[in-house]
Each structure stands twice: as structure tokens, then as C-alpha cells.
């Protein structure tokens, strides 16, 4: 078990090293990617600054709390994009061309190789940008260090990444049946719109049911809500526990789903 984990960690480090070498061969591209992400962060800040010029709270979230949430979402999304998004995006193409063959032949977990093959270094700074935004928000809020909240945040953050990853894996697997599926990048952007806002906006007739649906049935809302909540709002141990359970379960389900999908893989020969 320990040897296995060490082996995969070594492999991940190797893959990260080689992708970095490649990325550095196209440095201009890398810089552009980073600047797009910076620009996007700027747009988000401009948007919410404009909005908070007209109001003092959104769904019960004050301005610093809300910016902490935005930073938290940005950081989680950064992790997802750095490690998985590009790989999952390429999966449809691997299926279409049959190049998936080579990944299946390796004596190593298929899901690991499919989803962690390349690292997108251009989005790695997003984690940092999100952290900076969270830091600024905490300072503005006058947050004092609380070990219980901080550790709950770390746990919930990791679970958020795991849940988001699982949902993305399922969206990815679908492309085995729908060869030439439109870019997963776009699908993920649409789907993750659920993660971008606080759960509290789902209030009022009908919306509350939808909010509960996406918290308890398709629990995507937990991804950025729970870590932000435990840090700057209420620390609800039951919610953290639920998030941990959901993270484990969704990892398991997405893995099963991926394997079922692989059984339908036809290996196109060109």
C-alpha cells in the first residue's frame, strides 16, 4: 500500500517534470495562459466590486466573506485545471483516434493515467491567486486564527477537489459513448457554474428544492461552499462530515462509472 502510493507519487512527479520541460519549450504560451487567468480573476473582482457598490450583502454573505468564497472557488478550480481538466478534455480525442490504446496497455491504473497524464502548469498559479484573494478577504474581515476552522477548511477543501474531480471524471467517461463530444472544457464550464456561487442563493419557492437536490442528491454544491463556510461563516461539523462522506462516495462511483465506460471502448483503428 505505502509502496504503491510512493510509486504513484513518484510517477506523478515524473509526469509533472516532463510536462514542465515541455511547457518551458513554449514559454510564450505559458505566459499567455497565466495572463488569461489573471485577467479572468480581474474580471471577477471587477464584477463583484461593481455589484457590491450597489449592495452590502449577497444572500447573506458580506463583501469580505463573499470575496473569500470567490478566492476559494478560484483555488479549487485552479487545482482541478492544473491536474485534470486538460487531460479529461483530451480524453474524447484519445477515444476518437484510438490513441487511448497506449494508456490502457500500461501496467498502471487507467484512471490515473487518463486523468493525471499531463500537468497544465499555466493554471497552477490560480491556486496562488485564489489564496491571495482569500488572504486579502480574511484581512479585511479581521479574521483571527482559529485552528479548528483552519483544519476543517483544509479537509473540506480537499474533499471539494475530490468531489469536483469525480463529477468531471463522469462527464469525461461519457465521451466513450458519444464519440466526438464537444469540448469537455465547455461542459465543465457550464456544469461548474453551480459551484461558482454560494448555496444560499438557492432560496425561495422551487429554488430551495433545487439547492437541496444539488447538496444531497448530486452534491456538487458542497465543492466550494463548505470550505468557505467553515472558514468565514458557520463551522458545522455535520456538514464537514457529510462532505467527507460524499467525497469518498463520489470518488467510488466515478471510478466505477469510468470502468463501465472503458468496457464500451472500441479502439478505433486508423
Amino acid at each position: 500500500m505505502v509502496a504503491g502510493v510512493a510509486r504513484y507519487a513518484r510517477m506523478l512527479a515524473g509526469l509533472a517534470r516532463y510536462t514542465l520541460a515541455r511547457e518551458m519549450a513554449f514559454r510564450g504560451n505559458f505566459l499567455v495562459k497565466v495572463s488569461v487567468e489573471l485577467l479572468w480573476m480581474g474580471i471577477l473582482v471587477a464584477f463583484y466590486k461593481t455589484v457590491f457598490a450597489k449592495t452590502s450583502t449577497i444572500a447573506g454573505w458580506s463583501e469580505p466573506d463573499y470575496f473569500f468564497f470567490v478566492g476559494c472557488f478560484f483555488a479549487i478550480n485552479g487545482v482541478i485545471e492544473t491536474f485534470f481538466l486538460d487531460n479529461c478534455n483530451e480524453f474524447a480525442e484519445l477515444v476518437r483516434t484510438g490513441d487511448l490504446d497506449f494508456l490502457l496497455l500500461r501496467p498502471i491504473d487507467e484512471q490515473f493515467l487518463v486523468s493525471c497524464r499531463k500537468m497544465d502548469w499555466g493554471t497552477a498559479p490560480n491556486l496562488l491567486m485564489g489564496a491571495i484573494l482569500m488572504g486579502i478577504a480574511l484581512a479585511q474581515k479581521g479574521w483571527t486564527f482559529d485552528p479548528a476552522r483552519a483544519s476543517a477548511f483544509v479537509v473540506a477543501f480537499a474533499c471539494g477537489v475530490a468531489i469536483a474531480y469525480s463529477f468531471m471524471m463522469m462527464l469525461t467517461s461519457v465521451s466513450v459513448w458519444m464519440v466526438r463530444n464537444q469540448s469537455l472544457m465547455e461542459m465543465w464550464w457550464l456544469f461548474s457554474s453551480l459551484v461558482r456561487y454560494p448555496r444560499e442563493i438557492f432560496s425561495g419557492r422551487g429554488a430551495e428544492t433545487i439547492g437541496r437536490f444539488f447538496t444531497f442528491v448530486v452534491p456538487i454544491l458542497l465543492v466550494s461552499n463548505v470550505p468557505a463556510d467553515v472558514m468565514v461563516r458557520v463551522l458545522d461539523p455535520w456538514m464537514v462530515a457529510w462532505t467527507v462522506v460524499v467525497a469518498g462516495a463520489s470518488l467510488w462511483v466515478s471510478r466505477r462509472f469510468f470502468h463501465v465506460a472503458l468496457r464500451s471502448y472500441r479502439s478505433a483503428s486508423s
Binding site: 515524473g14 516532463y18 515541455r22 496497455l105 501496467p107 479502439s267 483503428s269
Partner: protein, 332 residues
């Protein structure tokens, strides 16, 4: 104890039947019809350790599909197979560590990186001990004469050099079974020979079992001593190569265009098997060493407007002959 055992292996695909025209495609949105395509139907054979076997058959006969089932990439619809005692499509790590698949039309190396980096990654993935890795890599690069190219980005290599790198990548972990799908496709003769030599040497030193498909009879002749012929998803011949090469590999297709009345069938049959005789033109399959003699003889006797000598596409000829022979065989 056979190393590869295949029994009644079948693969059927369900193919969406695309309708013609705009209306058809609109209807296709709501109701779809499917065709069943039998890529492989009920193939059985077994291979002993150390054998080198060629898979022959025309395009679309099911060779690649069979290889892909044996490598565990796709699941068969029916039938059984074991390779090295494993069921391939379970894709156990223990199995994947012990075999390799080389596909001539695809590349598995990282395009923008030097091959050496991809090899290092292979070392991690296959958990190859460092000393064994260095030794094998040294041997293989020397054997293929590419010691100096491993530090160059793969995209800058020629097709032949790239194929050699692919082969090295496939052999690094010392597979016991090697499946090769068109390993020399598109390569020039020099590179073809180098790859054949490498495979032969590797076979001699390691006793690896090989199963290969190729369009080039030269590959088959150089490497294999047993041939399995597949047409339309069924196995039609399984036996030693020797007889087949004598029968077909050594013949040429001589096309003759006579001036005026051509000679009759019986006369032409003296040179070889007459495959066509229509009006003033004829095609005869003549054994290679008799071509010159036959041509001289024909020229002595008749006036010719045109002559050509062609090498028939051998594996297709073989497949065709077996396919033609099959109904008779089945009836018997």
C-alpha cells in the same frame, strides 16, 4: 503448454446506420438503426512459447481486432483467450507488465520530448530496476543504431527513426509476448531490414513469442515460420510458412498484350497459372525464376504490343486463394 490460447473468439460491432440526406439525418436524431458487423467470428488457435507467427489477410479481415483483443484493449463478444495464463481483457497489471503491443501507425512517445524522457517514464511505469533498464536500453539502441538520437525531440526524427524508438519503448520492460501490428508500414527498405534484424536478434536472445501482422511479405519471410490466414473474421489456414511462400511468394504476374489473335489457354498454361484471358490480353502467374525464360519464349512465338511484370500483393492473393478454397473445403 501454449503461451497463447484462443478459442472461439468473436467480436461483433453495432454500427449506427447513417441515413442519407437531410431528412434522414433529422430522423436519425430520434430513431436509430444499427447494423451488426462481425469483425471476428469464432477464431481458435494456440501458440507455443518462442514461436513467431504471422497474421495474414486482406484489410478489414479482423487481424487488428484480434490483436487488440489479445492485448486487452477491447472485450470480445464471445469466446475465450489466455495469454501467459492471463485473460487479456481483465487488464491485470501482472499481464500488462509481460507483453507489449507495437502499432506501426500510431506513436506512443511524447511528441515534443526526447525519446530518452519517454523511456525514463516507461521505467517508472513498468518499475524496471535501474541497472536492467540501462543495460537493455544500451543493447537496443546499439542494435538499432540510434544511440545518438535518443536526446532529440521525437517530432524531429524521421519516420524510420521514430519507429525504432517505438520498438525500443516496447521492448524495454522485456515483454514475454510481443504483438506487432504493421510494424514496418511506410518505412523504406533499409529501416525495414533494421527493424526485422532487431526483432530477430531479440527473439534469439530472449526467446520472445511474437505475433505479427504485416503487409510486407518480406517481414513475414524474415521473421515467421508459421502463418495464420484470416479472411472475413474467420481463420482459413494455420500452418508452416514454407509451403505458402513456395506457392505464392515466388510468383510474378505477367501481363501480355498480343497483336492479333492470342494463343489458346492450353498454350499459355505451360508458363504458369492463367488468371485472365480476354481478347488480346492475358495475365499469367509465373514463378519468379522462370519469368525471363517464359517471356523470351512468348516473344519468340508471338507478336506483343505490351508486356508488364508485377508482383502480386501477396497476402491478398493468399487470402483470396484460401477464401476461394473454403466452400470446397467446408463441403468436404
Amino acid at each position: 503448454m501454449p503461451i497463447i490460447e484462443v478459442e472461439g473468439l468473436s467480436k461483433t460491432y453495432r454500427v449506427f446506420r447513417k441515413k442519407e440526406g437531410l431528412l434522414g439525418s433529422l430522423r436519425g436524431l430520434y430513431r436509430r438503426e444499427y447494423n451488426e458487423v462481425k469483425a471476428v467470428s469464432g477464431i481458435s488457435f494456440s501458440i507455443e512459447p518462442g514461436e513467431m507467427v504471422a497474421f495474414l489477410g486482406p484489410n478489414g479481415a479482423g487481424k487488428t481486432t484480434t490483436l487488440k483483443m489479445l492485448s486487452g484493449l477491447i472485450q470480445p463478444t464471445a469466446g475465450k483467450a489466455t495469454v501467459l495464463g492471463h485473460v487479456p481483457w481483465l487488464r491485470e497489471d501482472a499481464y500488462r507488465r509481460r507483453f507489449a503491443l507495437v502499432m506501426g501507425q500510431k506513436n506512443q512517445l511524447w511528441w515534443d520530448l526526447p525519446a530518452a524522457d519517454s523511456f525514463q517514464l516507461h521505467r517508472e511505469i513498468y518499475s524496471i530496476p535501474k541497472d536492467r533498464f540501462d543495460r537493455t536500453l544500451g543493447e537496443l539502441t546499439e542494435l538499432l543504431g540510434v544511440e545518438k538520437l535518443t536526446r532529440q525531440a521525437v517530432r524531429e526524427l524521421s519516420l524510420g527513426e521514430r519507429m525504432k524508438m517505438e520498438l525500443i519503448a516496447a521492448l524495454l520492460h522485456g515483454p514475454r509476448v510481443l504483438l506487432l501490428d504493421e510494424p514496418t508500414i511506410g518505412l523504406d527498405v533499409v529501416a525495414q531490414v533494421a527493424i526485422q534484424k532487431c526483432l530477430r536478434d531479440y527473439h534469439e536472445s530472449r526467446g520472445v513469442t511474437m505475433l505479427l501482422t504485416s503487409h510486407y511479405m518480406r517481414d513475414v519471410e524474415a521473421l515467421c515460420d508459421r502463418v495464420i490466414v484470416i479472411t472475413r473474421g474467420t481463420l482459413v489456414h494455420d500452418g508452416p510458412l514454407a509451403g505458402i511462400v513456395e506457392r505464392f511468394g515466388e510468383s510474378k504476374l505477367v501481363r501480355l498484350q498480343f497483336v492479333g489473335e492470342p494463343p489458346d489457354h492450353a498454350e499459355l498454361s505451360r508458363y504458369g497459372e492463367v488468371s485472365k484471358l480476354e481478347g488480346p490480353s492475358a495475365a499469367i502467374r509465373v514463378e519468379r525464376h522462370r519469368v525471363a525464360e517464359a517471356l523470351a519464349d512468348v516473344l519468340n512465338r508471338h507478336a506483343l504490343a505490351d508486356v508488364s511484370v508485377e508482383a502480386p500483393p501477396l497476402e491478398e492473393v493468399i487470402a483470396k486463394v484460401f477464401e476461394e478454397a473454403r466452400p470446397a473445403h467446408d463441403a468436404a
